[in-house]
């Protein structure tokens, strides 16, 4: 079986398990999985950027744009179904990256990281000062239906959870397929040696720009899913700590597989929830300690455990 089919099959089985598990999960667990998936979508975009040799500390920008666009766009367009709301979020974030990428695609290393952070903090500042968007309080976001099913109904109440899982499946399979195309193969080549890529006839800046847009689309979708799951958006989604959390997930997960961000995000959410319950005043210490351990013992992220086991087999 080809690696593409193996990955797609693995993700399809996971999607089926997640869907079947829905009615049996307590409400808090369903919410936790939905939020983990939403964050993993952003980390999936970071995976693509990291494979291209870029680390963005500003994915909160696109996450926030996705969340706000889902709310504002739905209100303006009188959309009440969650599916077009998520699409709105993804498209709005993608368009923002299309514009900002004209500048961002020129920079690398710390300059790229700081510039991306700066853009997200500019948005944060704008959101805080914009009373029409609720200033620091933000505003509520709600969908009446998901795929046409009433969210208060017996099936529809799992709608956001199911939608998150479906978006995650499509995102992961899409990125996995993309990374195996000729264009996708340029990601590690650009990370290794930009000069050589140019001397083989490809435009490094165009590929980087494309990857910025793809990562933003995923972040926007993640933001919209979060807004729908939480029922609220506020400027914190663009704040630097939110962006830092996405980088945290990406480093914790590793870039070895498109499935890694989902495992990493779920682990982080579980870890945080239990740490918060058992050590409410020092939970950050626990999370930081785990991160330190991962960096020390699994520098290529949690996913490298599977690779080592496969190599040993």
């Amino acid at each position: 079986m080809s690696p593409t089919r193996r990955t797609a099959l693995g993700l399809a089985v996971t999607l089926a398990v997640v869907a079947v598990a829905a009615p049996f999960l307590p409400r808090w667990a369903g919410f936790l999985v939905t939020i983990a998936i939403a964050k993993a979508l952003v980390a999936l975009g970071l995976l693509l950027l990291m494979r291209t040799g870029l680390v963005s500390f500003g994915q909160g920008l696109y996450f926030a744009i996705g969340a706000y666009a889902a709310g504002v766009g739905a209100d303006a367009l009188k959309v009440t179904d969650a599916v077009p709301m998520v699409l709105l979020g993804a498209v709005a974030a993608g368009l923002a990256a299309l514009l900002l990428g004209l500048l961002l695609a020129r920079y690398r290393t710390i300059f790229f990281a700081m510039l991306s952070l700066a853009f997200s903090m500019i948005l944060y500042g704008l959101l805080v000062k914009t009373s029409a968007l609720g200033s620091t309080d933000g505003f509520n976001v709600a969908a009446k239906t998901v795929f046409g099913l009433d969210v208060a109904g017996p099936v529809g109440r799992f709608g956001i959870y199911g939608l998150a899982a479906l978006v995650a499946f499509l995102g992961a399979v899409g990125i996995d397929l993309y990374l195996r195309t000729h264009l996708g193969r340029l990601a590690p080549a650009i990370r290794d040696n930009e000069l050589r890529v140019e001397y083989m006839g490809a435009s490094v800046r165009s590929v980087v720009h494309l990857h910025l847009v793809l990562a933003a689309i995923l972040a926007g979708a993640g933001g919209a899913v979060t807004a729908l799951a939480v029922g609220h958006v506020d400027p914190e989604s663009a704040y630097w700590t939110t962006s830092g959390e996405f980088v945290f997930v990406a480093i914790l997960s590793g870039t070895g597989s498109v499935a890694a961000p989902f495992a990493g995000a779920l682990l982080l959410e579980l870890l945080r929830s239990f740490a918060y319950e058992h050590a409410p005043n020092t939970w950050q210490l626990v999370v930081g300690g785990v991160m330190l351990a991962v960096i020390l013992f699994l520098p290529e992220g949690l996913w490298s455990v599977f690779r080592r086991r496969r190599a040993a087999a």
């Binding site: 000729h182 996708g184 340029l186 040696n193």
Partner: protein, 257 residues
């Protein structure tokens, strides 16, 4: 024969230093040309100017009758003017096979950017396998480029340049870093592969034995100028080349001050 590559008054200055001084060169299609000269003579600057890595201070570069002066490396490469490097520029985290596949994939990008191997298109993969065999890289197919021996990295670097289907190939010191007993076998291999493609070749080389054996014409550089241009025997006998490039002692009464 018609000139495939032509430079007129090609000049590059870095402050007070003139690295290329009004170079007028015409390269015939299908020829194998050697570029010789000491360190800092302007050979690599010439390659960098022609391939778009450096922008000339003045002068023009024409390739296949088209003015390519100031074009970016990727644009020049797409037209069929490709290069290899003195220090091999390979993708360290990829295997030898994947390195070739990147180049072959770029060639096919113009036609079908999103229809790669994931959807069943096997053509670039098959070509990559053929190239591995032709360049005797088969045993290193799945070896990461970062762990390849220097001579093999050099070969891979050249194969990558050839993967993007050049009409003219500029090789920057293809035998540097290669052991003395491997130089001829490497050049035999490279030129045999290149001849099969009908590619014009320019290569920078310090080893005069290699130059004499493979080229039909030599351009001898010194301080950014071309001091001799012609068949190997003629250029090697040129007094300035013998004195300034080859470094042979001059007979009493000949040249010098």
């Amino acid at each position: 024969m018609s000139a495939i590559l032509e430079t007129r008054g090609l000049t590059k200055t870095f402050g007070a230093v003139t690295a290329a001084n009004a170079l007028d060169v015409a390269i015939e299609a299908g020829s194998v040309v050697g570029l010789i000269g000491g360190n800092g003579a302007g050979k690599t600057t010439f390659i960098n100017l022609v391939t778009g890595y450096l922008k000339p201070t003045s002068g023009t570069v024409h390739f296949g009758g088209r003015d390519i002066t100031g074009m970016a490396p990727r644009q020049v490469t797409r037209l069929g003017l490709c290069r290899s490097f003195q220090i091999p520029q390979v993708f360290d985290s990829l295997t030898a096979y994947e390195n070739l596949l990147v180049g072959l994939g770029i060639v096919s990008l113009g036609r079908k950017a999103f229809v790669g191997s994931a959807l069943g298109d096997q053509r670039p993969e098959a070509v990559a396998e053929q190239m591995l065999q032709r360049f005797h890289l088969g045993p290193y197919r799945d070896v990461l480029a970062s762990t390849l021996p220097e001579g093999v990295r050099k070969l891979l670097d050249i194969a990558m340049a050839l993967a993007v289907k050049p009409r003219i190939l500029l090789l920057d010191e293809p035998t540097s870093g290669v052991s003395a007993d491997e130089k001829f076998s490497l050049m035999d291999l490279v030129l045999e592969a290149i001849r099969a493609e009908g590619v014009t070749v320019l290569f920078v080389e310090h080893d005069m034995d290699v130059v004499r054996r493979y080229v039909q014409r030599i351009l001898a550089f010194y301080e950014g100028r071309i001091i001799a241009d012609g068949p190997p025997a003629e250029v090697m006998a040129h007094p300035e080349v013998r004195r300034l490039v080859v470094g042979e002692a001059q007979p009493a009464g000949e040249g010098g001050c």
